[in-house]
């Protein structure tokens, strides 16, 4: 290289790094009462400009709910939502600890983001198909999957419905219309568009919903999903869970300096940015978008503005790349604390009941864990028979696999 001029290459920086004071001054978080209005009737992408650049909020900082996005949810349903979120958190805690004890090879928490999956699953119909990433375990709780079964998958034991083939957290649950999670980021986002196209092709009313993280929006499949969903007006909810980080990389390496929701408008998809830590707002936006899809008005692109309160996964140490306090100081708070506060404000909840529920759920996951581990552990089994790994490569086992299976059995 001949030149020695100083580099003019712009490289985004994180808002804070270890040793620095977290800096949220770029965030511009509007108050709940400043939320963009809820559109009535059929809407074009252009008309969602304010929704995409603003932030839909229902719960204010004091736990009061107001505005035209306020969903019509009974206190019972709210408590159900709270319970699911707390259940997910208890589950995450337990599984994380079990991983640290060597019982799981890997685990991913969704701490701080529970509202996204829980509120969305509650706003969707059971027949709607879910194409999640690895951080929407909340969907399974709402749909009523057995926690023991989830655990059995995570430790690849003899009761693992995925027969020991998948890493922990890459769940699949056909019965609950929960698609098999891939280790490859975003690949299922575009598949969800295809699934939704097929639903329309068949004249059915089921819709699809897909999730990716902020970092994953950079993958081609997110572009494909938006393009196909928009071109064919596919009934699909395209969700971006913007939890600010992709492992060590801040969202600024994917957002190009605007909101993720803004990208949706460029594809002519009505797009909304929602406070992802606000259970009520997430529910309301999802309900609205699902209704649009079901009525044949096509996709909606939803950015959930939230925060990844813990490390990326058990393989990760966030102290290496972000300011220690960032999670605690996150200006949009914690989704469980906020819904709890709201219920207390409504007079439908109190600290004692909360503590009791917490204890109950902790007990429950402990019991579930004991049961699960009773069916076998990762290291000691029992597992599925080793030879079962040759099954399901194809529907029927072709000769070369039969032969290899025999070799495995004979140890040759």
């Amino acid at each position: 290289m001949k030149t020695s001029s100083p580099s003019r290459l712009f490289v985004p920086v994180a808002s804070s790094r270890p040793g620095e004071v977290p800096d949220f001054s770029q965030l511009h978080i509007p108050e709940a009462k400043a939320s963009p209005a809820k559109p009535e009737g059929v809407i074009t992408a252009e008309e969602t400009y304010d929704l995409a650049l603003g932030l839909v909020r229902v719960l204010d900082d004091g736990g009061c709910a107001a505005g035209d996005w306020l969903p019509d949810l009974s206190v019972e349903r709210l408590i159900e939502g709270l319970r699911h979120m707390m259940h997910v958190r208890a589950y995450d805690e337990r599984m994380f600890r079990m991983q640290r004890q060597g019982q799981l090879s890997f685990y991913v928490k969704c701490t701080g983001e529970e509202a996204v999956a829980v509120a969305q699953a509650m706003a969707l119909n059971p027949g709607d198909m879910l194409f999640p990433s690895y951080r929407q375990q909340g969907l399974l709780f709402v749909r009523g999957r057995s926690v023991v079964d989830m655990m059995c998958h995570c430790i690849s034991n003899a009761r693992d419905n995925l027969k020991g083939r998948q890493m922990p957290v890459f769940y699949s649950w056909k019965e609950g219309n929960f698609f098999s999670i891939s280790g490859n980021l975003a690949t299922q986002y575009s598949q969800a568009a295809g699934w939704a196209m097929a639903s329309a092709y068949k004249g059915e009313e089921h819709i699809a919903s897909a999730w990716v993280g902020d970092g994953s929006t950079a993958e081609a499949d997110v572009h494909y999903a938006m393009l196909f969903a928009a071109t064919y007006k596919a009934p699909v909810l395209l969700n971006v869970v913007n939890n600010q980080w992709a492992i060590s990389t801040p969202q600024s390496f994917a957002s190009t300096g605007t909101t993720f929701a803004a990208r949706g408008i460029g594809y002519h998809i009505p797009s909304v940015r929602v406070d992802g830590n606000d259970f009520l707002a997430v529910y309301a936006v999802t309900e609205w978008a699902a209704e649009r899809a079901r009525q044949g008005h096509g996709p909606t692109f939803i950015e959930h503005f939230t925060y990844r309160a813990e490390g990326h996964s058990t393989s990760d140490n966030p102290a290496g790349y972000r300011a220690e306090d960032e999670a605690r100081l996150w200006p949009l708070g914690d989704p469980i604390a906020r819904l709890k506060q709201h219920l207390i404000t409504l007079g439908a909840w109190d600290l004692d009941r909360h503590a009791a529920l917490e204890a109950e759920l902790a007990d429950s996951v402990t019991r579930d864990w004991k049961e699960a581990i009773g069916y076998g552990s990762l290291e000691s089994g029992p597992h599925w028979p080793v030879e079962s790994m040759f099954e399901d490569v194809f529907k029927e086992m072709p000769p070369h696999l039969l032969k290899q299976r025999k070799q495995l059995e004979s140890g040759s």
Binding site: S172, F179, S180, S182, K202, D221, Y224, F394
Partner: protein, 340 residues
């Protein structure tokens, strides 16, 4: 029976399956209104509508992804890649998703997608309209890989592929799309219709040629020649013109491979020549040679020869020098026979 070109046979396979099963659709770039740049989907738009002869954006990765989602939701999409050379943008969806879905979900989910891809040279298409990437797909567990050599097989194999519940990558050699290819190393020689070709007589209705079964096209005792696609014709001409008593096997399906048929023949002849148009290094020929030397070692009387495309991009000006022609096949057979 009707005399059909391979293009017409493929059209007919698509028509038959779409008529019988409303879940079958074709999708890809220019496949709808226009009927495909090679005309393989002609007439389907008029007959079945825009949603079943589905034009798509130019996004191979998106097309396959959408097809996977459709497959999971009960449809049987038949995807056309405009050229096999453009399959690479879709390869992540093919390898990481389509091929793996059944296994990783413990059998819960699967997508019966067929991916059709016109391959090989023959149209002066240079390096981006002439490639033969079939070998790559045979390395991917969970995929079936097929390449027909004539209209009869093309229709029968394609119907099998569409009806199969596993994903199939279906390569169509462009050089023999519109007529037989007798292996002359000249662009325009040879007859240009299938009328007098036995495998050009194609039933109008439904029939299948099973996946995973090779076809012994010529019986002979001196040497076994393994080929697929266009190369079947070149090998056939080389055998005919050299007068060598060769046994010619058209593999038809590369994976699962009909090892039985191959092994039986090579054990008999003790000599083998493997032919493909794809580049040599790590091409599918390598797998064939390995398998044969493992299974037939004690029967082999000469090294197995590979006659393949050169390890260079496919050149525009030198199609016929790049192309593994009769002369190279004959020389290889001769070397194999003379060994002892």
């Amino acid at each position: 029976m009707t005399a059909m070109s391979m293009v017409q046979a493929i059209q007919s396979a698509l028509d038959c399956t779409m008529e019988a099963d409303p879940s079958v659709l074709v999708m890809g770039e220019d496949v709808g209104f226009f009927g495909g740049v090679f005309r393989c989907t002609e007439g389907l738009y008029e007959k079945y509508g825009a949603h079943r002869a589905l034009d798509t954006p130019i996004a191979e990765g998106g097309i396959v992804a959408a097809a996977v989602g459709m497959g999971v939701n009960g449809l049987r999409p038949v995807v056309e890649m405009q050229f096999a050379d453009y399959i690479y943008p879709a390869i992540d969806q093919i390898i990481s998703e389509l091929a793996r879905l059944r296994h990783r979900s413990g059998g819960e989910f699967w997508a019966p997608v067929v991916i059709r891809a016109p391959c090989d040279g023959g149209i002066r298409g240079g390096q981006t309209h002439s490639q033969s990437p079939e070998g790559i797909f045979t390395h991917v567990c969970g995929l079936k890989t097929v390449m027909p050599s004539n209209p009869y097989d093309a229709k029968g194999l394609l119907i099998s592929a569409i009806e199969d519940d596993d994903p199939v990558v279906f390569f169509e050699p462009k050089r023999i799309y519109n007529g037989p290819f007798y292996g002359h190393n000249e662009p325009s020689s040879g007859p240009n219709s299938w009328t007098k070709h036995p495998m050009g007589e194609v039933p109008n209705g439904h029939y299948t040629v099973p996946l995973g079964k090779a076809n012994v096209l010529r019986r002979g005792g001196a040497v076994t020649v393994l080929a697929y696609g266009t190369m079947v014709h070149v090998a056939d001409a080389a055998i005919e013109n050299s007068g060598i008593d060769a046994e010619l096997i058209d593999l038809r399906t590369l994976l699962p491979l009909d090892t039985e048929a191959i092994v039986e023949s090579v054990r008999k002849t003790g000599r083998c020549v493997v032919v493909h148009e794809a580049t040599r290094t790590s091409g599918f020929g390598a797998e064939l040679v390995s398998e044969i030397q493992e299974e037939c070692f004690w029967y082999l009387r000469a090294p197995i020869e590979r006659v393949t495309g050169w390890d260079t991009p496919y050149p525009h000006a030198y199609e016929w020098e790049y192309f593994p022609g009769q002369a190279r096949i004959s020389a290889a057979m001769q070397r194999a026979i003379e060994c002892d």
